[in-house]
């Protein structure tokens, strides 16, 4: 069929089963928007900033497991989207992001709204394309979706000059992809797997170290079975929250900078780390030379570049976690879970010594209470997004996650402003669940314009603003490491968040007591509208435990015991 480049984009979306596109139009992408207008196969959600479009596509992808799609114009449209691309790249989120470009004849002339988009996106995408001929477009579109979702997933950017979107060529999407240079291996080496199983069987204090790659690979249920059958305790990274259910007896908790005492101690005492879909991020390992010092390391990952990048793997296994764990399950009979009984007891003791908890305050709500309370009231019925800061860590620590893809947060890049648009994408992907965004008084203002998107499209996201009148996480570091010099982190001057929500047609609540909070959340869920629930929380609360940057995991600052003061 002979169609324009713009129509090809639409046809490819339909063929790929895309049902939602997030974006923002402008001159260079108008031909494609014209075709969007004419079709009814997918919905387009107009965000109010291109960064938000990409974050929404990320949220959509994370909640659904599908490739997220965003569309933007050239120049400032594209540069606004770069933070989103970088965020998706760091967290291995499969996206296809399409940008308009000035016509071919004007490229390189400093034309109006011209920027070297592929030059900028090269270092923050898995792959990118500048399309110079519509003849290539069917192949490029198909490759883009394929590359985004296979191997270690990631964002793929396609920059299309305006004249190419007008060019009419033959469209055939039933083509075989010929990617001779891109063949992700998905099957783990059987010999290595056998050796790993033997190592596990011999270990005395083995420990699962579960990462976000498990969620990307849709392998959580295989991992649950593996953990169950081996009786080996597990720690999760921030990105892996929900791989195991919070009430799984073998789940010790989250590890890392704000991990629980028991998790970090377990990692320090283990003799065999079983890393699945992890990348030994510095926020997880602390001081590398002290990390799991006495342990051998099994490392399963789809990305060969992640293996032995930071921590040497004694048993490297390159492959899709789902395949590798399935293969391991076939040999699970060689592992006797009774062997680890005393190790499990050790961990229980760690947990009893310093459980993950917080102290209530009679005057003000503690932010941790809010997270726990939402967990009690909504639990499995909610998907949880977050912004970046203390509230994000508390969400990771205290929410009772029950399933993979329930928790959506900017981990690798730590992008303030991620939460609200992501929660819009999450709700679009998963309308049957309540979409909660835990946010801060700092972060929410970084994409607050999304109130308009959510209200217009009737996407009822509930934003719970844990208002501490501070850029809390930075304030915490200043308090602890900069002798309380709170430089530029005091947010005493604030908007009226209730009126702000109302100005856009949402509902706002301002709560100071637990009773008010319960009532507000109940009301917002029932009314099913876009909401801000501003909770006035304790200003000086710190996220604990804390491993100071570059310190060893076992050297944690801990919550003061009650009465210590």
């Amino acid at each position: 069929m002979q169609i324009s480049g713009a129509q090809m984009v639409i046809e490819a979306f339909i063929a790929e089963g895309v049902d939602t596109v997030f974006g923002y139009p402008g001159g260079a992408i108008m031909n494609v928007y014209d075709e969007i207008y004419k079709q009814d196969k997918f919905q387009h959600i107009l965000n109010r900033h291109e960064q938000a479009s990409v974050h929404a596509a990320e949220g959509y992808s994370k909640a659904s497991g599908k490739v997220g799609v965003a569309m933007i114009t050239s120049g400032p449209g594209f540069t606004n989207a770069v933070t989103g691309l970088a965020d998706a790249y760091m967290d291995s989120i499969p996206l296809v992001v399409i940008s308009g470009q000035v016509p071919m004849s004007l490229i390189g002339t400093d034309a109006f709204q011209e920027i070297d988009a592929v030059g900028i996106s090269r270092s923050c995408t898995k792959h990118n394309y500048l399309v110079t001929d519509a003849k290539d477009l069917p192949r490029i579109l198909k490759e883009a979706f394929y590359i985004a979702r296979t191997g270690r997933p990631g964002p793929v950017h396609i920059d299309i000059p305006k004249d190419v979107t007008a060019q009419i060529e033959e469209f055939d999407y039933d083509i075989e992809l010929d990617l001779e240079t891109y063949k992700p291996h998905t099957k783990g080496n059987p010999r290595q797997i056998k050796k790993a199983i033997e190592a596990i069987a011999k270990a005395k204090r083995p420990l699962f170290y579960l990462g976000g790659g498990i969620i990307n690979a849709n392998a959580a249920y295989e991992v649950r079975e593996f953990v169950q059958k081996t009786g080996i305790p597990a720690v999760e990274t921030f990105m892996a929250r929900g791989v195991l259910s919070f009430d799984d007896k073998l789940l010790i908790g989250m590890l890392g900078m704000h991990g629980s005492y028991a998790s970090n101690m377990a990692m320090s005492e283990t003799d065999l780390v079983i890393g699945l879909g992890v990348r030994f991020d510095d926020r997880v390992t602390g001081k590398l030379s002290e990390f799991a010092k006495n342990a051998d390391v099994i490392h399963v990952d789809i990305d060969p570049a992640s293996i032995s990048k930071l921590v040497n793997a004694d048993y490297p296994i390159v492959g899709d976690v789902k395949n590798v764990v399935s293969d391991m399950l076939e040999q699970v009979g060689k592992i006797d879970s009774n062997n680890y009984e005393s190790w499990r007891e050790t961990i229980i003791n760690f947990n009893e010594l310093h459980p993950l908890t917080f102290h209530e305050d009679s005057e003000r709500i503690k932010p941790q209470w809010v997270v726990k309370r939402v967990g009690e009231l909504l639990g499995d019925d909610a998907n949880i997004s977050t912004d970046v800061g203390q509230h994000q860590m508390w969400a990771g620590q205290f929410y009772p996650f029950t399933r993979p893809r329930q928790f959506i947060s900017s981990s690798g890049l730590g992008t303030m402003g991620f939460g609200f648009p992501a929660a819009i994408g999450v709700k679009a992907a998963s309308p049957e669940k309540t979409s909660i965004n835990f946010t801060g008084d700092g972060s929410i203002l970084m994409n607050v314009q999304e109130l308009m998107t959510a209200v217009e499209k009737k996407i009822p996201v509930i934003n719970i603003i844990l208002n501490n009148n501070f850029l809390g996480m930075v304030r915490q570091w200043q308090t602890l490491f900069y002798d309380k010099r709170h430089s530029e982190t005091d947010l005493s001057v604030q908007p009226d968040f209730v009126k702000l929500a109302e100005a856009f047609g949402g509902i706002g609540y301002r709560v100071k007591t637990k009773e008010e909070f319960d009532a507000a959340l109940k009301d917002a869920v029932e009314k099913n509208v876009v909401a801000f629930i501003e909770v006035i929380v304790h200003r000086m609360e710190n996220v604990m435990p804390m491993v100071p940057s570059g310190g060893s995991l076992f050297n944690m600052m801990l919550l003061e015991k009650k009465g210590d003061k």
């Binding site: 090269r122 270092s123 500048l130 990617l179 240079t181 060969p304």
Partner: protein
Amino acid sequence: MTEENQRRVVSVIVINEASVLSRITDLFSGRGYNITSLTVAPIPDSRYSRLTIVTAGSVRVIEQITKQLHKLIPVLRVYEHEDMVEKEMAMIKIPITENLSDINILCEAYNGKIVNTGENTIIAIVTDEPKRIDNFLNAIKRYNPKEIVRSGAVALER
């Protein structure tokens, strides 16, 4: 894992397409690594090109760069070993007033010769291992070379 800087030669086979070179060089520049030399040319009868990159860096970082190179979509293969046969070419322009027979003898010792004579200058070419090219360029200094151009190393694994 040693951290000291070492000279490394990396060969990369890539699809011969726009922007592939920047994808590769970005991996070096993004880590603050300098590329000492870089050669590229198409591989006959194929859609591929071969790059030879000479760089210096810690073994660990170069290993990481090598893995990242593998990850680039248009990269087919990466070779990074010690055991390569390496050659480099140098061209020099020398005033015709110098002792040409001495120059010719010197060039021959480095697999080269005078390839062009003009009105005022001659051009000589030598081809040898990069280290020996260094030596040659030192030796030729006394003949007042006006211009020197080095090709950068090409290499094949044994």
